[in-house]
Symmetry: C2
């Protein structure tokens, strides 16, 4: 397979993949493009490669920057802004985990804390089932939260260390 074709497949699959994870297609595609580009690209480069509008490109680049996955690069003597993606995949994963933890897991745990205090007689099976379900989700969520903290702080690839611990 030729590079051009492989690149297109990579970008398009990464985009489809993203949609299964609540990330919009274009954002994932821009990320994929930057991941496989050796040098920083401009907004115009990205627009052209992916055949998307200026506004769309701009908004999604900014979103990638918010996620900490892409950064602006200023090339000396150049007026235009360039963009580049972190290439160390382990760092990318840690960054995504960190953000999703903050944006989703933590607010969910806060809500569960509140919901666990529901009024009512625990002998009522509706109350009991509700409280038990909420508690067990909360418990698991808190453990996941701690585990992910360890993961995010890990310098080297956490999965490797993990497997070693399991199999030794």
């Amino acid at each position: 397979m030729k590079l051009i074709e492989a690149k297109q497949q990579f970008i398009s699959s990464w985009g489809a993949f993203g949609t299964h994870w609540g990330i919009n297609r274009t954002m994932a595609q821009i990320h994929a493009l930057l991941l496989v580009s050796p040098d920083p690209l401009t907004q115009d480069d990205i627009m052209e490669e992916l055949d998307i509008s200026r506004g769309n490109t701009n908004m999604n680049i900014r979103e990638l920057i918010n996620w900490g996955l892409v950064e602006r690069v200023l090339l000396q003597g150049e007026r235009k802004e360039y963009f580049t993606a972190e290439k160390d995949i382990w760092k990318v994963v840690k960054q995504i985990v960190k953000e999703r933890k903050k944006r989703e897991l933590e607010p969910m745990l806060q809500l569960l804390d509140k919901l666990e205090d529901v009024e009512g007689d625990k002998r009522d099976k509706h109350v009991k089932t509700f409280v038990d379900t909420v508690s067990s989700i909360k418990k698991l969520g808190k453990q996941a939260d701690k585990t992910l903290d360890v993961m995010v702080k890990a310098e080297e690839n956490w999965f490797v260390g993990n497997l070693l611990k399991f199999f030794k």
Copy 2:
């Protein structure tokens, strides 16, 4: 907070949560409703509680069954079908991981295998960056795959065992 209100909040947040994970709102809400319901519910119960149409209810229940998160229950002497959700959250998580692994991670790894074989001179930085990126994603993906296998096979809560290993 009263049970009714807490339940509504739980269902609605679970739905919103789902949309961040590529799961449709209704499917997540039906799942939430069944999780906090002590007894199995019929399609009509679900339609009424969530105020959604018969078709929508039916399709999403079936999808939850495909995911292995909900099962049909036949109550003796009853013509209607009843539905119930697995209440053990650890089992729920394992089931979701198992499915997503099969549906997403594995096909992605297959694709990366193919893309890694791109033709071209590795001294060309475009080729090199592409191959390096694909390889490193593949490597991490394969490790994650193995780790998740361990997790899916774990009888008790994997996060707990995990943390213990880290802190001992």
